[in-house]
Symmetry: D2
Subunit: 359 residues, 4 copies
């Protein structure tokens, strides 16, 4: 707020140097300033950590915003890349909103260029289970995916070099009882037609899908699937949408595509990070440092724990637990010599957390 106030003061100073138009008083402090916030997550293993959301809708299917707004949101929330994935087969606004399946991409592209957001051409193949909903990403033309048979649609995407993402595998509308890997999914997988699976979608978390990804070498993905205004659905002041961290050689569409086919991804939502142990441990190691203060209180060692990232870390050794909030330091009162802790918000499997040591 202070910033905004300042602007107002400056502007009045500026105006007072001119012939001020007292009949039109600007109240710029009433308008929110458009600002890009940084998401602080360290780069790891020599790769850049890019923040991506590969699933969202606009008025060109059943979303409620114009495509350019998806770029604006992404820019403000600190993302690097997005894919607009309007439904190919489900366009309830068709009576009013037209254009081909590339329209939302083409409308959003100039804004994306202006704001340096990587915009990935994409579409959502929207079918009954199996196989359910699948995003085709990194397309050259979305229109060929509009074809009656689902396998033809998928092939139309892979023929373009597309990445096939199985969306919300545990969505109750399609899997009411439990989350199953069906015969058709196996067929598609064997045919090289499933490259990623969402373990987080909208406000859901599918632990079993994480196990599938890690067992079968499939990319672990988290996406918003936002239809609403993102900041209206999620609390983006204190939290963030579901997203995918992609460990890429550089900040480019090509590098993201390479990283995703190479399965160098982690999904992030609600303080939960899900993915391969090597990635999660490295994010922890680059985010958190411990320092022995050399002091004690009531027989417990005082350890300074400092977290430079935007991810809080929740540690427990069964007996004692503590959280190191994002971007801050805490003093931990360490009992005994138990220096081996599980990090409970890092998931290297549906029921597995990595263990770290405090030296």
């Amino acid at each position: 707020m202070k910033k905004i106030v300042f602007i107002s003061i400056i502007i009045s100073l500026t105006l007072s140097n001119l012939a001020q138009d007292l009949n039109n008083v600007q109240l710029p402090h009433m308008r929110k300033q458009l600002v890009r916030k940084a998401i602080n997550i360290p780069d790891i293993l020599g790769y850049k950590t890019l923040k991506c959301d590969f699933h969202m809708h606009t008025v060109f299917s059943d979303g409620i915003v114009w495509p350019t707004f998806r770029v604006d949101e992404a820019w403000e929330e600190g993302l690097d890349a997005i894919a607009i994935t309007d439904h190919i087969e489900n366009q309830p606004s068709k009576k009013y909103v037209g254009g081909d399946h590339n329209a939302s991409y083409e409308i959003a592209l100039p804004r994306a260029n202006e704001k340096d957001i990587i915009l990935i051409r994409a579409g959502e193949i929207t079918r009954e289970m199996p196989p359910g909903h699948l995003n085709g990403l990194f397309l050259k033309d979305v229109n060929p995916l509009d074809t009656p048979h689902v396998k033809d649609a998928i092939k139309a995407a892979t023929d373009q070099g597309g990445f096939i993402l199985w969306n919300h595998p545990g969505w109750k509308a399609q899997q009411p009882d439990t989350c199953l890997w069906m015969e058709m999914h196996q067929e598609l997988f064997d045919a090289g037609m499933i490259h990623g699976i969402e373990v987080f979608n909208e406000k859901e978390w599918y632990p079993i899908a994480l196990d599938w990804c890690l067992d079968k070498e499939i990319a672990v993905i988290g996406n918003s699937d936002i239809h609403d205004v993102n900041a209206h659905y999620y609390d983006v002041e204190n939290g963030h949408r579901p997203m995918t961290l992609v460990f890429a050689t550089d900040r480019s569409e090509q590098a993201i595509k390479e990283a995703m086919f190479a399965k160098r991804t982690v999904a992030w939502f609600d303080d939960k990070l899900a993915g391969k142990e090597e990635f999660l441990k490295e994010i922890f190691r680059k985010s958190v440092s411990f320092k022995d203060t050399g002091k004690e209180r009531k027989g417990k060692k005082l350890i300074l724990a400092k977290n430079i990232s935007d991810i809080p870390f929740i540690l427990s050794n069964g007996d004692q637990g503590f959280t190191i909030p994002k971007q801050s330091e805490i003093i931990v009162h360490l009992k005994g010599k138990h220096s081996s802790y599980m990090v409970l918000n890092l998931y290297t499997g549906s029921d597995k957390n990595p263990t770290i040591n405090i030296k």
Copy 2:
């Protein structure tokens, strides 16, 4: 946040009674709850104080949201009535978005009914200055306003019993030097074709327009003219959009229309209330109470000032000033016997504030 957390706990309790699906974990605390906030402004003079915004856009002209979202926003922000006023002559999305000039109204209406928001059929006649931009409100059919000559368009609105609102009279794109009442505005006014004028629009304030309204008995109006997502443009957590308070006999479209033609309105933005003295003083009187504590400190009387409204009041007697924030009490240290104060954020003219007495 706490509320949301609670929900999550309940839901897990509930689920634990069922066969819980561990493969689909709901994280409902990550979703913002849809809530209607109250705007606390007292009813006055036997009328209901309705909160209204008569100027906003959707994808059906140059706005970026679907019409139903305008209803959702209004409901959440505590409004009673809105008018969607898509430009009649300016539809940059026409290549993609079709439908006639009633489309945004018709799409939004079922949502408005569901949420008990009064939706007023309207359109914006969008012309060069003079006369500039004019909203036709309380229409039966927007399409007849799509006609070449501006006076024909206005007549098409008044023939339906419409209310004509002169929008942003001081907008620099159309009045670059100052804010002028032109010959054509006089003609329209004489012909009974200007019923209201915006003194607040978007983030602007036109003091001279308030004088026009009070001199000529024209309704004082404040509107957002929002094209963006409202909560993305304004800080609706701590503030509010520009709006019009309408003093109506009941909460109905008919009563709003009657009140507006009878000029029973006040415009509200940025803690500024603009309108007739009788309305502003009455809002103050019903919002603020003073109580002598009977105590003194350093020769000053301690007075308890309590404000039950959502409008802060800023008082000054030239020598001493204080603000009574919204929804709170303060202790005022009153010097001497100066009990006559101007309320600096109430405007009964471009440079006039009403005076109140502390007893």
Copy 3:
């Protein structure tokens, strides 16, 4: 923030009328304004609902603030009455801080008078379990409680008409295994020497103590026991300290005392209200109203639920649950005819919630 900004503008306007001292620029917007926030909880059953905290410390025992600050905090947080209860037997600052056991009361009293906070003279008898820690409230002189034998100390309080409150009965430092009602507590109770028990203390909740209170007709109490700065320990922006709602005939010390001996109290913390069903149901009834909108969506009735209090209410019928946040309205999509709901955050026993009906 906006309010504060306004003040700054006013003050500069004011100063510009004087010979402004450019060498001393006031930045009043940098100082938080002292404001009393209202706690909105309805009066019930013909009584006033007073918000009270009967347990807190200052530098005169092991707290870290000066007594006047306890009054300032209480005023700002919307409380009606407090008792400063410095330990009688535990004063670690004694080397530096002196005065008799009435000192903190006497220092705080002028401030309490000025701010119209009811200040209750009190002290904490601080002994090993049993009986543990006991507050003597409504005392005339705290000094007689400074006597070797605990029963003498209690008697010194009851001889003055004092109210005896058993503090934090389940505190692990004194009841490491579980929370027990010991023989000595029975003796004291039989002798009329236990009038209230804390069910909430600091950040703890003792469900069994609620059962004791309701079984034995003892007043249900919630207190902060704050040693720290209250707003440093609790999130008073979004939440509140533990407190006791006292249903009193008027806003006076005498009426609070009468109500407490008559057991007309409810304890409030963390959205939990604990106490007699008649009080809790009445608070709910006066806080929440339901209105059938007459509309349906997907076969569910749309009901408007409006909560005018600062207490959220969490409802569940086993099958369906929802929360009505404080000070807001929501639209509930009501399945079938299940109109009987438990209010999960109201406790009429350690594992009992009252049931309400939506008509």
Copy 4:
């Protein structure tokens, strides 16, 4: 909030593995977690940028908190060093609070050691104007400063190698008309007995004192002079107390002392930085980077401006102005070729701002 919620979930998970004591339910999410926030201001010119406050009070003079709390506040707010400067001649609590003039230092020191806050032994010589109030910093023993004649008191400080700071030179209680450098100040300065002057104190800003400092080679200082709880007086969530940035060779008391005698300081308050141009420009240069996006909109170049510090910067070239908020990026629409901007919130004199160039 989310973090805290997590803790609660973990703890319940942990407890469920033990025999849970249902009679004592911990509600740890109701307690604010103690966290040290980072203040992000870059190191410059090979020095460490330390954040210091050299002026504050406790119950040992007229403050309202216990000395240890000053350390806790400083730790949480990200400070490196503080001096507790209780009044030597003004102790209104003396009836209740005793100890010699070193007491507050000695009480706070163990806490400072534990939290790695540099605690500087100090006291405030509290006299009428001239010379007004003076802090003696870096003392070995405060007691010798308790002597009748002010010059003796100052000499008692300088004899110990102390740094003499002239506090709030423009305070209206002592300089009601304007802010004057009096004969006695010249004498003291000539005798090497004024080493620093506060340009910010509490909520005041003395522009003329900045000119004195820069003309006479005196250290520029900003301090809180806090008597209240710091977070109760200032909005430490969105802002910060007045403080002094000290450019020191390392993070130690000795290095701070050396830097202050060498005048390597800048004062910071309310987004205003005051000090030598070389320091201010270097802070700007290390905080802000500009990047030409290569794009244009409406004939204006789009420049990405990124600020990694916690200081917003407010730029103007007379014609066009913008603010780069803390820790964020904005897109600036740059008109014409005016690439030379004044930074309006950096003060290199009472009415001087440095100029920077956008390349």
